[in-house]
Symmetry: C2
Subunit: 205 residues, 2 copies
């Protein structure tokens, strides 16, 4: 069995990444979502080992020291990171692992694990992003404006990704993401074993 593909999905806040990933996992059983480690308090209904690996600051800092995290960051006083062990474990059983993380983390992962596939999810245009953020109805004008500004800053790094996926229609977009990841299995550098095998067989003639 071939190893799974590690895919990092990033995109502007409000681009619909969460919904896309939920639908992708629901629809196909070859995917595993990476579970982040965090030092923040768990919220009601959040489960250790499902939503997050909840850890103490000491535990988390030990993981950093022992290079057990593919990437990590600190937001408003709490650590968040991607435990390498869980990702490796899933990849080795042939699962395609999805990491939904922001830009800085994504580029760090690509640096550490160069065969990572980087997907960037974007709405069809800025107006559509604005509408999505407004329709959520959870934030005021100032917060939305700040998110739009942040999107503009992040857009500068879009060309560091491998593929661009435009989230116009949910189902179409889920299919595109699925196809891109599945096609990745046919990349020559992921099929070195097959190539070596057929080379050996052909030598016999």
């Amino acid at each position: 069995m071939n190893k799974g593909i590690l895919t990092v999905v990033s995109g502007f806040s409000g681009a619909g990444k969460g919904t896309l990933m939920k639908r992708l996992i629901e629809k196909y059983d070859n995917y595993a979502l990476s579970i982040s480690a965090t030092t923040r308090q768990s919220r009601p209904r959040e489960m250790h080992g499902k939503d997050y690996f909840f850890q103490s600051i000491e535990e988390f800092e030990q993981m950093i020291a022992e290079d057990q995290l593919i990437e990590h960051a600190n937001y408003v006083g709490n650590y968040y990171g991607t435990p390498r062990a869980y990702v490796e474990e899933q990849l080795n059983t042939g699962k395609d692992v999805i990491l939904e993380i922001e830009l800085q983390g994504a580029l760090k992962v690509k640096e550490k694990i160069p065969d990572t596939l980087l997907l960037f999810v974007t709405p069809p245009n800025a107006k559509n992003l604005m509408k999505r953020l407004t329709d959520r109805g959870t934030e005021g004008t100032a917060a939305i404006k700040a998110r739009m500004k942040r999107a503009g800053e992040e857009a500068v790094y879009m060309d560091r990704y491998d593929y661009l996926v435009i989230n116009d229609d949910l189902e179409t977009c889920v299919e595109q993401i699925h196809q891109i990841i599945q096609d990745e299995h046919f990349k020559v550098f992921r099929n070195i074993n097959f190539i070596e095998k057929i080379k050996d067989e052909l030598k016999a003639f």
Copy 2:
């Protein structure tokens, strides 16, 4: 409209490339097969501008001199080559152009046009290739043995390709080729216009 994708399809003799391409073109209308120029005599029922562009040696050598061919080679005294104009014309109308050429030519095309997608079609194993060649019933044991030996020599260059497609079942293989080429449209470097546009839009916020 985005430009089409230029795809070079190569593979061992007997891997079924011809049948695959025929089926692909039959099934989807976004493809154009590149038409080769040649100095060899036309055969009955071959049409100029459909099967080949038939040319005199003088015409062909002038095309070489004027860099009008993406690649060319000489087999048993006849020139064969890929006219750049026809390929560019099709790509500019948004067609995905397929070039079915052998390894040496494929690598030359990639050198001249770096965003070319290189696909290598292979049977699932050497035994299957042998069976395919035998089942065609057109060649004797010695000729088949020579093709198998040649396949062994070509296999060394498989890792220069982008994707490996295993031709086990025709329809499955056609779908894989189609998906790989269509996904290529989502590559970030092929969507620079979109990226620049959304960057500009976001600046307005």
